[in-house]
Amino acid sequence: MDYTFDFHAIGQNMGPLIDGLVMTIQLTIAANLVGVTLGFVIALLALSRWAAVRTPVMLFVEFFRCTPAIVQIIWIFYCVPILFDVYFDSLTMGVIALGLNLAAFNAEAYRAAIQTVPREQLDAGIALGLSPIQRIAYIVLPVAVRASVPVLITNGIGSFQQSALVALVGVQDLMYAGKFLATETYRPIETFTVIALIYLAVSFPVSQLVEYLERRRGAASH
């Protein structure tokens, strides 16, 4: 390798990168708020005993799980305004696209967690005279939400990285700032190395947190 790295130009232009990172984090937080709450509602609907409720919800989940995120983002950016005649700024569109995608994945996390609650505990709830709503509120939810936290955080890190895709449609996030800087400075290798390190610096501690949580859960269940 005879390439000589020169980070000089990047060091002088950290300002736009920081702005981009702030945008990326805002986008991630907003998408996660949508994903965590909407995902929960979707999971409950997906477990409905009525097929008329369950089927459309399952189709929604499968659509987002079985198509590339980049296709979803571009589709929402270009097709939704034309088909439905609604226009939002690019940031809002980014939050919607990433949020819906995340909601579909989180719904599966919640659904799996809800199904880990043993049938016997619900039976015990009936035997103790708890109503169906009380059984959900006091037996299923506390256990399911706790069990799904590691997966929700993992999906959250995924959405942080996936948010780089919205740079393609003009959201001025970290990736967008990086692309801009790379062309400005003629230093794409240095720029994208720094960008990668920034994504890593944010994601790594969070993924360590997930590992810690899973270890603790594993220890508690024995």
Partner: protein
């Protein structure tokens, strides 16, 4: 802890005195009347084929029989956990479970059902609640009892079962035997008039079985009516005032423990008893 439990419960390990000494009660209405119970899982598997059982007040009925014979299903139906195809059950003279047929849902009077408590084989404690919270959840949420009152009663029960020091522990910190004792205490918090025990020691390590059976013996000593499904014939002999042998979804033999366990009349019962005791020796 275990020591104090044993001290407290030690004297109950002897066979419990006859519960039918109170003749005025035994002459009264049956406490439980199960009539013509039919239950199937799909068209192929018929679990109950017209099961009839009557239980008098104060009785301790032990239900034995081969796996798939309908014992556990009977208890689950009595608790309203299973739909039935035909039949009806009344408790204390009040009909509370009846089939409506044609695939419609079984009718259950929950107010009557709440007079019955049940303990299951396993996974019964709520893992996110500590022992005390497990005990007071239903009294507070279902009966609207104050947290303070319920906690006081719970502490009392736990102390009685040798679990006083475990009130703030979580289920994962308890042994299997302790968990089952807590599950029994939790059911008792609702002051049931009948307790159902569905193979409560089957999932336990052998050395933990005794402490759970002792607690049930203690309840028996206080004349708590109970219906017990068990594979433990020694326990059955010690606690039963009457034994019912269920097989093929019907009652095959019904009588005092000395008869059903000792000298069964029916061929089918004899085969089962021979096999079970043979395995255990």
């Amino acid at each position: 802890m275990t020591t104090s439990a044993t001290l407290q419960l030690g004297n109950t390990m002897k066979s419990v005195a006859s519960p039918l000494a109170d003749t005025t009660r035994s002459a009264a209405l049956p406490l439980v009347k199960v009539a013509g119970l039919h239950k199937s899982y799909g068209p192929q598997i018929q679990v109950l084929k017209g099961l009839d059982i009557e239980m008098k007040p104060g009785e301790r009925l032990v239900v034995i029989g081969p796996s798939g014979g309908g014992k556990s299903t009977l208890l689950r139906v009595m608790m309203g956990l299973e739909e039935i195809d035909k039949g009806a059950i009344s408790f204390d003279g009040k009909p509370y479970i009846s089939a409506r047929g044609d695939g419609r849902k079984t009718q259950i009077d929950t107010a009557v059902r709440r007079e019955i408590g049940m303990v299951f084989q396993h996974y019964t404690l709520f893992p996110h609640l500590n022992i005390l919270e497990n005990l007071i959840l239903a009294p507070c949420k279902v009966r609207g009892e104050s947290r303070k009152d319920a906690s006081e009663r719970a502490e009392g029960l736990l102390a009685r079962f040798g679990l006083g020091a475990k009130a703030r522990a979580y289920p994962s910190q308890l042994s299997g035997g302790q968990k089952q004792r807590v599950a029994i205490a939790r059911a008792l918090m609702l002051d049931p008039k009948l307790m159902l025990f569905d193979e409560v020691t089957s999932a336990l390590d052998p050395e933990l079985v005794a402490e759970v059976e002792q607690v049930i013996m203690q309840l028996a000593g206080q004349n708590m009516p109970m219906m017990i499904v068990t594979h433990d014939m020694w326990f059955a002999r010690n606690i039963a005032s009457r034994v019912v042998f269920c097989a093929g979804g019907v009652v095959v033999e019904d009588g005092p423990p000395e008869q059903v366990l000792g000298a069964p009349v029916q061929e089918r019962t004899r085969e089962f008893i021979d096999r079970v005791f043979h395995i255990r020796q």
